[in-house]
Subunit: 428 residues, 4 copies
Amino acid sequence: MSTVPTAETNIYTRRESQVRSYCRSFPVSFARAEGATLTDADGNAYIDFLAGCSSLNYGHNDPDMKAALLDHLQRDGIAHALDMHTEEKAAFLDAFEHHILRPRGMDHRVMMTGPTGTNAVEAAIKLARKVTGRRNVIAFTNGFHGMTLGALALTGNAGKRAGGGVSLPDVTHLPYENSLGEEVDTLDLIETMLSNPSSGIESPAAFVVELVQGEGGLNAASCEWVQGIARIAREQGALLIVDDIQAGMGRTGSFFSFDHMGVEPDMVTLAKSLSGFGLPFACVLVRPEHDIWKPAEHNGTFRGNTHAFVTAKVALEKFWADDTLRNQIALKSQVLEERLHNIAARIEGARIKGRGMMRGVDVGNGELAGQICAECFRRGLIIETSGAHDEVVKVLAPLTIPMEQFREGLDILEQAVETLVPFGMAAE
Amino acid sequence: MSTVPTAETNIYTRRESQVRSYCRSFPVSFARAEGATLTDADGNAYIDFLAGCSSLNYGHNDPDMKAALLDHLQRDGIAHALDMHTEEKAAFLDAFEHHILRPRGMDHRVMMTGPTGTNAVEAAIKLARKVTGRRNVIAFTNGFHGMTLGALALTGNAGKRAGGGVSLPDVTHLPYENSLGEEVDTLDLIETMLSNPSSGIESPAAFVVELVQGEGGLNAASCEWVQGIARIAREQGALLIVDDIQAGMGRTGSFFSFDHMGVEPDMVTLAKSLSGFGLPFACVLVRPEHDIWKPAEHNGTFRGNTHAFVTAKVALEKFWADDTLRNQIALKSQVLEERLHNIAARIEGARIKGRGMMRGVDVGNGELAGQICAECFRRGLIIETSGAHDEVVKVLAPLTIPMEQFREGLDILEQAVETLVPFGMAAE
Amino acid sequence: MSTVPTAETNIYTRRESQVRSYCRSFPVSFARAEGATLTDADGNAYIDFLAGCSSLNYGHNDPDMKAALLDHLQRDGIAHALDMHTEEKAAFLDAFEHHILRPRGMDHRVMMTGPTGTNAVEAAIKLARKVTGRRNVIAFTNGFHGMTLGALALTGNAGKRAGGGVSLPDVTHLPYENSLGEEVDTLDLIETMLSNPSSGIESPAAFVVELVQGEGGLNAASCEWVQGIARIAREQGALLIVDDIQAGMGRTGSFFSFDHMGVEPDMVTLAKSLSGFGLPFACVLVRPEHDIWKPAEHNGTFRGNTHAFVTAKVALEKFWADDTLRNQIALKSQVLEERLHNIAARIEGARIKGRGMMRGVDVGNGELAGQICAECFRRGLIIETSGAHDEVVKVLAPLTIPMEQFREGLDILEQAVETLVPFGMAAE
Amino acid sequence: MSTVPTAETNIYTRRESQVRSYCRSFPVSFARAEGATLTDADGNAYIDFLAGCSSLNYGHNDPDMKAALLDHLQRDGIAHALDMHTEEKAAFLDAFEHHILRPRGMDHRVMMTGPTGTNAVEAAIKLARKVTGRRNVIAFTNGFHGMTLGALALTGNAGKRAGGGVSLPDVTHLPYENSLGEEVDTLDLIETMLSNPSSGIESPAAFVVELVQGEGGLNAASCEWVQGIARIAREQGALLIVDDIQAGMGRTGSFFSFDHMGVEPDMVTLAKSLSGFGLPFACVLVRPEHDIWKPAEHNGTFRGNTHAFVTAKVALEKFWADDTLRNQIALKSQVLEERLHNIAARIEGARIKGRGMMRGVDVGNGELAGQICAECFRRGLIIETSGAHDEVVKVLAPLTIPMEQFREGLDILEQAVETLVPFGMAAE
């Protein structure tokens, strides 16, 4: 296995900020990537079970998106157009309407924000506050929504919050489903708190919720809970904002994590895999009655990344025009669940978390989870942890990973666990 | 001139949020772009004096950057790698060190943030608060720093601020040079206020300042003022953060707007033209002693856009390895200044603003400025306004625009003014 | 019964702010008062079951306090001395040490604040934030702590909070015992939330808690719950602040509401009955290790009301030197409980609330509770409601009320209920 | 001179919080007081040039107020009535209307708040925010308005602010007249900043201003400046709130500090000398069109201190029914000014500050000012400092001090200065 050569180490040590992180877990220099495979500068190949934290749901360098982007570049298509009209934007919107919105009967408008998830979240809560004239926003235990101050206020993680250096007001954090133990009915609790005019909790502008908490430990909300939150939001005169940045674009089985959940959010934030190709791109879907922005009231230089329009359109047409991908995800999800059950069975107290292709094993503590990921990397698999204590080994393979390669990656994971927990539960 | 066809109008009306803005001023659909020329779907060409609000300092689709990106794509170079090491990142850092930092004796570290200016600003103020243990940040009248809550608090514009829907605490806005009239010594004023322990202004963590205010009306700070602010910051134990997102990358004559100003900022925020190609990319330069981040304490999915590394490296090597571009900017700046003086002379009370290739004419009110820009567009020139009252017609041509085309654009601007102010000052 | 004469009505209508409130429920003009009896300008007497919202625990114009205050006035004792030393302050502190602190083994220091409860609460949370270096303070559902912005942030009532007109940050409201129904273990819930580093709830500087919630509906916390909160506070590195402004000075049976609860708060806020005579007076008791104030770091013109020192000293010596009052309270509390049970039994779903001489009946809704109080007033009894929906008829008789008069007041209450709920439960 | 006996020292050391302050400058125990004379436990007399920080404008224990209070007590008048009607409240309102409001054509309503200045300020800004629907409040350099969080946000002093431990948002501090030097036109500056929509300063709900800054160094605003602020407030749609807590009740020559200034504030906050006797009492005067409170929307246990109504009524009738006191103040103010000029002339760079009977000498630094006050105390005069650096020796004698005693006190001050600055200016 290649490690970063001295010279390159030097440039990072000399010139890159200490804030860098993933490169510390995977200390090699990557050279190219295709599908679910990353290759380092020495030619070593790695199976990618991280997929850009779910930004590469269709794998690296999908050939059709690549071809479209090459073509766009070769004919001097626009790279940057602020939010002016381009043929690429129109084509993206057409495809998004045709393949995503219209089949679901969604009449949402698309707001292009700065091309990061946190910018989309900031735009969404701004708009919810404008629509309702209220300040408070409800967020949930273990939620992660971004690092700019408005989104950071919604984020649960204490370390991230402390980085802000200031108070993070106008947000109330309430317990996510099962975060207080399975015996506590959090819907009841939330409803009781919000309906008591002396609870000290201001009437909310919005509820911002992930249906599977990507950073918070792959907690997957049940259909009943999500519907309950939607109902409480409605009763409170608050908007329901689904943050589908990590869980959307097929990750949990369908394009949106809330498909088949029986709810229609007032807003949806999308980013990560939205471009399909790993390019920066984010948007907010907004019900038309809430789209009360004045022109440029929220703006930004890179909203509407034209290269991302090009690839996103291909992604929509290639993967969401029929049920092929959905069926593949369903199949792989089943394989994943079975394999993770076996792996979890080796570790006392371990349990599997998540939904669809967004699953992992809670191994009980961050130390063991970190060791497992490190051992995987030594064996050629890139995989990371999640959760409040980094206690979940999280599988975020590309949805398009070939089944054989998927099993190969899961084999490595299982072997890593066997190595670190040699006798496992079976031996006891 | 082509207008947006009905079908396309429909997709925007049906599906794009009301927040869209530039497309309202320039209601055509753009198809391709090269250098300083944008071409719409009907084949009409426009000279681009907006340049993505200074995101396209090297013009559209620079052939060398394009070639490098095509090559990167064709060999399946990485598109998305979180903040892992890639050869492209190393090459970018090498080039940035070699062509930018080392020649200036700057030992700053590069922090890749989410690829928008506002994310870079958020990271910078977070870090300044962490370094100093203070909360308050000084920003200036007419400053613009972004739209996420932390950066929005620094932004002066009332309409943008109101969009936030909540209080924007922990920032004190102080007067920019000349913003109280030329007779008021704002340095004196700021120093007096900050040195009075009963001023009610908390000791600042940082001063965040643009040396030329891009959105605020092209106000250009003098060398003395900038040095004064640097001195006051130092005396107050606060960091000096130069927001060079719009004014950097050559716009004012040199790579940084603070080159030759006699100050060395503690941090610099860069975005817009940093990629060279109009791709989303942003970073913060941080003096090593302030680079006290814990790994991932500020993170984000798209920090370090690999495609942008590829093009940015070419931009650095092509344009900043010698003085060619600098000399061209100097020459064009002189042409620009002369022509704008002539134009300003036609409008009573008008005066020219800005520095280098970031210049404009304050025509006294937003209505006239808007009419001038609209008339320019009818004549094939894309140009926009700036300022608290949109009263400045702002020229942000690509730095690389051929001189002939530059003059052609300025001719259009002059003709537009002649049309709208037929008798001008000369007649009076 | 006298109503306010026209002339007097005029002065209030002409000159007193609309914010006035109790005078709307009891629209007569009071002329004098003694013990538990208020007399209006026409000579009508009223039994006082409101007692200045528990500010008159020893009744109106206690003869011994009156004598001491007359003597003080006649000999030109100090009325106002800022926080300089006076013999009266020393005598008060001596008495407070001797009769209150020393018998309990409390080594707390006495901080004189501005003479209102809200000022004491503001001082306490300031000090807790200073001691811990943290910002967040935990307050509880239905809590009431005052109306200045710092204390208002702790207060649960939505109407009061809305009056602030700004966000009320740096406070987290958590559920009080039983506020989520008896089946939810709020201690468990609070502990789980605070021990999850991704809960989004900042580490607290303090817990501020009333052991019986005077305004919030006479919810009385159990010994176990109070000890649990004390334990969680300790484990979190947070201070325990008992707000004993309404429940202290004997109201719940002993001087402090936390006596015999097995906890020793880090701070205690006192006001209301502290002076004994209804004079403005407030203080914070602070454990010596937390008394890290710099001189005048928190100050105020009227901290240490000398007249109040005079009467408070008498109150301490007269009522707290032995067990006489305590025994009387115990006896009357028992009478009160029995009578309220009978009254509650007449109203479907009604239940009694509170502890000691701080008890009432939750009659299910604010309309009925208001009607009962109005009917009582017509019958010569002054009594008010409490609770998030004003649904509790609250008995706050002077602790020193003669038993006969106490029973007379309770008779009136019972008759009022009989009048309004003629058939009651018994008839069904 | 008596010092505090050991036993008494013990009780303060043992039991009073470190926050105590004035007792440190004047370490004796006071026993009684009459007029402008304080007497300690050993019978030593002191002339009082502190007067409870202007809470004792009519001196200690005025015999008429004392008689009225004795009478009230003896006939069991109400001590505490919440905000119910009492004959004493009506009588106070009548007198206030008759002697203060009506002669000035003021139709303001009186809002009784918690009986401290900070509570009145909190109520005033709450109401201004409610009336305007805005959040931001303008306060001024060197202003002091109280120590609870809402009022503390208006206060300039860094040490006091730091004591809050949290951010103090929703207030903008702008320069008071001459605080930037006499050459800077602060009205111009304020108007320019507030009329620039990109200043970053939110549209204000109110301007809160002291016409003479009591704690901030006896800065006295000119008539023109006050009118200018009133005009700017009006133009901005903001309310003008005069904080007359220290400067009102005759201190600057007339009942209100703004009499004869040509402005009529929307609100006025009063406390300190309002009761006349040094008893806790505060109120807000509100123009009727702004008195939009809901009943109890801002409340408090001790609003409307009945004992204070009794004494305040006497004060109004005794001192404000004719021009006697006003004439005396004018005469003494002249004496004071002359004497302070002589004193200032002895100290290089010293200058006199303030207006009316609220005057002092800025001796250039806090050390010398402190020494002068300490020397005065040794000589039997109680006097304190003021200002951002405690650099002003501040004379706040009772307005009613006999002329002979006044001169005696000023003699002591002069002697103290002579002792400490033996050669003075004259010698140089």
